[in-house]
Symmetry: C2
Subunit: 393 residues, 2 copies
């Protein structure tokens, strides 16, 4: 079996949506796909067997967190992340770049790499394009990402350009450095360019021409309005090679998945479904509901009528409400399982819609039915999470 292959199974004639198949050393992925995030070598509250049962085909782990604790050398001693965390399916690790810019303190970027202080103990650390390749080789994921610079929102065109150009040079260094490590790992490039359509196109073309078998789109969903994110994708996608899978980093919600697919994205990852679940937000075809509200106290039906997840097959919404209100651990599991299953079933439905030529209709019907959380609600939640995180640190 080749270590990596991507084939396109169908393309939507009216949008940029496509259905594909990715082959990795640990198994096959059917796109479009949602990737649950296991930040610290565990998808919060959910076991590997439960991930399989909800249809997860690939999961993501965070290099930044794992290099700090327990350390990538230790994980290598255990044969890599797969055996360390008991997940034998495909896996992707990010580069740590995003977390350095969002979590690390006192970071200092140079041509060489980035110096920062650990958010755990303040200890000084550095990452270079080369050291990231070593660390990710130690972690052993199937798909790995190179060190990049994420400028955030808002930023000037000059900041975005400088960050993109450094990201490009680091991408070339990462490709060179990867040679000495594990050939069965596949390195994707990361497209940057801030919120400037021309820079985005330039980055897509530059990275698309390098020998990366796939491309991740970075630097989006960092606080900008949704409309701006979609505008950036509309500029980026046409500049990307058709035959390489495209991964939209850190996105997103159910509606993001539906829209992103139409803008040519194949892979999505986000902590949102599990994080929202832990705060009581559960997905339904009509939008997110808050399971803690009084209306679920006596609800005999499941969270979502017809849902095939473990939670909905075995528990009333009233019981899940009870667990959420009493802050019982089982709640976090049941809520996370439901939301991950919702995302994966949605991804599968999108794939089937593409295969049968019905993507535009599926998208329109979904968006007509599904009420997204308002930007205001999302902002409030982001603040709450930040506060909770700051307290924990």
């Amino acid at each position: 079996m080749a270590s990596f292959a991507f084939t396109i199974d169908a393309e939507c004639p009216e949008s940029w949506a496509r259905a594909g198949t990715i082959t990795t050393p640990h198994g096959v992925i059917h796109t479009p796909i949602f990737m649950p995030v296991g930040t610290q070598a565990t998808v919060k509250s959910v076991s590997p067997e439960e991930l399989r049962a909800v249809g997860a085909e690939i999961i993501l782990a965070n290099t930044y967190h794992l290099m700090l604790r327990p350390g990538s050398e230790l994980i290598a001693e255990f044969g890599g992340l797969h055996s360390f965390m008991h997940w034998d399916g495909p896996m992707l690790t990010d580069s740590g770049g995003f977390q350095v810019f969002s979590l690390g303190h006192l970071r200092k970027v140079s041509e060489e790499g980035v110096a920062f202080k650990s958010h755990l103990d303040g200890s000084p650390r550095t990452l270079t394009p080369e050291s990231v390749m070593r660390i990710e080789a130690e972690l052993g994921a199937d798909i790995i990402l190179p060190l990049d610079i994420c400028v955030g929102y808002p930023c000037t065109t000059e900041q975005a350009r400088a960050a993109m150009e450094t990201t490009h040079r680091w991408a070339e260094r990462a490709l060179a450095a990867k040679q000495q490590y594990r050939p069965e790992q596949t390195l994707f490039g990361i497209v940057q360019g801030g919120f400037d359509a021309e820079l985005r196109q330039q980055s897509a073309r530059f990275l698309g021409d390098l020998p990366f078998p796939g491309l991740s789109i970075g630097g989006l969903s960092v606080g900008e309005p949704k409309a701006m994110m979609w505008e950036m994708l509309r500029a980026t996608t046409p500049a990307l090679p058709r035959l390489k899978p495209r991964h939209l980093l850190g996105v997103g919600s159910p509606e993001d998945l539906v829209i992103g697919v139409g803008l040519g994205m194949d892979m999505f990852d986000c902590v949102l479904p599990t994080r929202v679940a832990r705060h009581g937000g559960l997905f339904t075809p009509h939008g997110r509901v808050s399971i803690k509200t009084a209306r679920f106290r006596t609800e005999k039906g499941p969270i979502e009528e017809g849902c095939d997840c473990y939670t909905c097959r075995n528990y009333s919404a009233a019981y899940v409400h009870h667990l959420a209100r009493t802050e019982e651990q089982l709640y976090y599991r049941l809520g996370s399982i439901h939301n991950i299953r919702f995302m994966l079933r949605l991804a599968r439905s999108l794939r089937e819609a593409i295969l049968t030529g019905n993507y535009p209709q599926f998208r329109d019907e979904f968006l007509a039915r599904y009420t997204p959380a308002s930007e205001q609600v999302r902002d409030a939640q982001r603040e709450k999470w930040k506060a909770a995180r700051a307290q924990r640190d």
Copy 2:
């Protein structure tokens, strides 16, 4: 199938240990047995399927917590606790008496019953022997307990005698009140008597002569030295009817199970195995270890060599250590599963030792190998838990 039956399968000739079989409407229980505690209609962190997989034959739920939240009437509307919480095996509910005395505020005992304020919102509540029978009928467990008075430690003989006498009168009222509810439920009596051997014997004889198909021993493990608890059991057991199962309420640790069986106890329940697990304490045949200590950081083997639990079959101690140190939710599950499995395997080993005439040898070997947590460590933990609980309220 009779709603309740108890048969003795074997008795140890050198101690009071016996192996038995209890039949209930939801299945059969092999004694000696440990019953995991699902205070709020969930054994913390563990799913019903996982309880089955670790060999749980019966679980306990707390009437006090459930009557306050979500309320026994609501649970009755869902067909009782079994269907509400998705557990179809045997279940026992306590009477709420113990929690009223340990958690409720401003309690006032009268001949009629006990008035107290909810630990959740301070709202005034009352429990009487009659209302407890109604509430437990609504919860629908297989085995139910009557309202009793737990005096705690230390207490005077006069306090213990008065509480015991009230408990006896309440026991008779509970028996009378139960008539109007569900005949398939089995009401056990609760033996009290503080720390006075004569009172304990008197209570055992009094309750043993009433038509209770089983007896629980209450008021122990409430802060007294271990030796005193065993002394009370040595006084109590000979006064108990041989043909009724005996349940030692709220006990205990692995060594308590081993010793308690020799003193004639058949059933045990305690939050200790799951609570200790959540704080990092995991059972091994040599005693409790703290998984958070540095020595497990690089441990490639399981927590307990040869353990057949899900955790030990699939994860290194180093991974469990990592999850515990990062306070990941999956840790609480993996730790709880291991400790419950340890208790249930221990109960099964005790049963087999009794059936093969080897209980005394098994007990002596176990106690020679197993180093219990010192009373000092246990006291410190109790204080920590109390503080954590106070904070949560």
